[in-house]
């Protein structure tokens, strides 16, 4: 069931008004988000005002787009003019952007109704949403487990049906991994496909904004709206927006699927679920073969060097001068900056700034940063080779089921290892979609489908074909 189309029909048939819909969703979100910790701010007043505009358009007979009146959540590192945007950090506790991110403008123009800003790991650094400086997010399928991260609020909110869709951002898996842990669909587009203008940067050469929804078609509708060239982002690819709806539903007979063996080293239950999904693809007429991406084991260390290096540079702007908060006890400007940053950045953020600064500092640049960039080239070659033979690659999203809150937070390396299946995709810049492929012990298991650069439409179609063969996207968490 495609939620966006269903609501659209109800709106134009005047079975419900956009204001009624917004009120209904807001009422549910208020209660639900206090249980799951999904939101850092709720924008009820704006939602009602925006919904009124949609109702006026409908009343005057004006044609409205598919996203008009649809309730959405936006990750709190995506700039929303006049709405506090904290990045999950104390250092931006009071920061109100003076402009909208391009994706936000596009969604507003399409009539999307913002209900609030989604909770996240501070500055998107984390894989469990436990690094939010404000509160943790809980997995709607099991309140004792993490929703994944860093876009944990965005994913859990969609899973709990607080909103119809949300935006997250993905630097090393931050859309796909929480989508997998929460049993929803999430797309990490090709680097450059969706404008990063207004996304508060973590690692600029890896970051991409991506949509999340309960099913593939809803996710695709949002992707079609937010993708496309933007002159405000100098790394924006000169490509048109995706037009997924034109191809969704096409046959996948003869589709060549590569299964890289290096990605199949996790929890047996997760792997068995994946294997069943691959068998389903064969039933649907695809050709499934094992393949190899030989440099996979080097991706994680390369990722953490590159991401930390870029973060140390990007986060230099938070110095208590132009925005955010300041430590007022210092008499000297350098002391003020150092004290502000020490006091208002969280532990993981400080650690990555330290690692990145060290990796870029005189004498170590070649050994760490340059080395990592060369490994990135080797990783890219692995994928270039694989895509000569395969249309798409399929892998798990994470080696484990959603883990317990507190289980990994004390041990950075264990936490980092959980990102083994996702980080490479950012290093090589290709698109990847996460979709639910089964359940184990009542918890969702996700898989990711990877494609060549700018193959988002194909990925949506392949994901859609699989989705239509099962009922995983129709299941709902039983909120206890």
């Amino acid at each position: 069931m495609v939620k966006i189309r269903e609501i659209h029909k109800q709106l134009i048939n005047r079975e419900i008004s956009a204001v009624e819909l917004a009120k209904e969703y807001l009422a549910r979100l208020e209660i639900s988000s206090s249980k799951f910790g999904t939101y850092l701010s709720i924008t009820g007043e704006k939602a009602i005002e925006d919904a009124q505009v949609i109702d006026e358009k409908i009343a005057s007979g004006e044609e409205i787009g598919l996203l008009a009146g649809i309730p959405m959540g936006i990750k709190d590192n995506i700039s929303t003019k006049g709405i506090v945007t904290t990045c999950g950090s104390k250092i931006l506790e009071n920061y109100k952007p003076v402009f909208n991110a391009t994706v936000v403008d596009k969604l507003y123009n399409a009539g999307g109704i913002i209900l609030g800003k989604c909770n996240m790991d501070e500055f998107a650094m984390g894989s469990s949403s436990e690094n939010s400086a404000y509160k943790l997010v809980r997995n709607p399928w099991d309140l004792d487990r993490v929703p994944g991260g860093s876009s944990g609020g965005s994913a859990a909110s969609v899973a709990a049906e607080e909103v119809v869709f949300s935006l997250g951002s993905d630097t090393g898996g931050s859309v796909r991994q929480p989508a997998g842990f929460c049993g929803v669909v999430g797309m990490k587009p090709t680097y450059g496909r969706v404008s990063r203008y207004g996304l508060i940067a973590y690692a600029s050469s890896l970051d991409q904004i991506g949509p999340m929804a309960k099913n593939v078609e809803d996710c695709a509708i949002v992707h079609d709206v937010i993708s496309g060239y933007d002159k405000m982002d100098s790394t924006s690819a000169n490509m048109p927006s995706t037009k997924t709806l034109d191809i969704i539903g096409k046959d996948i007979k003869g589709l060549r699927i590569g299964v890289p063996k290096e990605y199949f080293g996790g929890d047996e239950k997760v792997l068995n679920t994946l294997k069943k999904a691959l068998a389903k693809f064969e039933e649907l007429g695809a050709i499934v073969e094992e393949t190899t991406l030989p440099h996979t084991e080097y991706a994680l260390p390369a990722y953490y060097i590159i991401a930390s290096a870029e973060a140390s540079s990007n986060l230099a702007r938070f110095d208590g001068v132009r925005y955010g908060v300041r430590d007022w006890d210092q008499k000297d400007v350098t002391d003020m900056m150092s004290a502000t940053r020490d006091k208002f950045f969280g532990k993981e953020v400080k650690k990555r700034i330290m690692i990145g600064t060290y990796a870029l500092s005189a004498g170590y640049y070649d050994a760490y940063y340059l080395k990592a960039l060369k490994v990135r080239t080797l990783l890219k070659r692995d994928f270039d080779e694989a895509f000569k033979r395969y249309d798409v690659l399929i892998t798990p999203i994470a080696p484990t089921l959603p883990f317990k809150i507190g289980e990994n937070i004390k041990d950075s390396i264990t936490m980092y290892l959980g990102d083994i299946c996702t980080v490479t995709i950012n290093l090589v810049g290709i698109p990847g979609i996460a979709i639910p492929c089964g359940f184990v012990d009542g918890l969702p298991v996700g898989m990711q489908i990877l494609g060549k650069p700018f193959s988002e439409e194909l990925l949506f179609n392949v994901a859609h074909k699989f989705e239509q063969s099962n009922d995983f996207h129709l299941r709902k968490p039983e909120v206890k």
Binding site: K96, G192, S234, L300, K331, S338, F345, I353, Y358, K380
Partner: protein, 94 residues
């Protein structure tokens, strides 16, 4: 091998992080752990491999040098912790 407490102090200064002694010690341990983990890359021979700093084939994006509307000064300064007239205000530099 490994990072000493003095290295950590130096990196903390470069990072503009005013860490206390306890934090410095903790970071010494944690940074060593993470850097050990990163040593894995040395197993690979990367001689002659070009670095990839960016995956897209985009270079030098230019636009015509026309003055466009900037952000409103009052809006921007509204986010500043401290200001004087049209300036950001900070504690003394010298």
């Amino acid at each position: 091998m490994g990072i000493t407490i003095n290295d950590v102090k130096h990196v903390a200064i470069l990072s503009r992080l005013g860490l206390n002694d306890e934090e410095l010690q903790k970071y010494e341990e944690e940074l060593n752990d993470v850097l050990n983990f990163m040593e894995k890359l040395n197993e690979l021979d990367t001689q002659g491999v070009e670095p990839t700093s960016h995956v897209l084939d985009i270079h030098n994006v230019f636009r015509t040098d026309i003055i466009e509307k900037s952000l409103d000064l009052e809006d921007v300064l509204a986010n500043a912790p401290d200001r004087e007239d049209d300036y950001f205000k900070v504690p003394s530099i010298l």
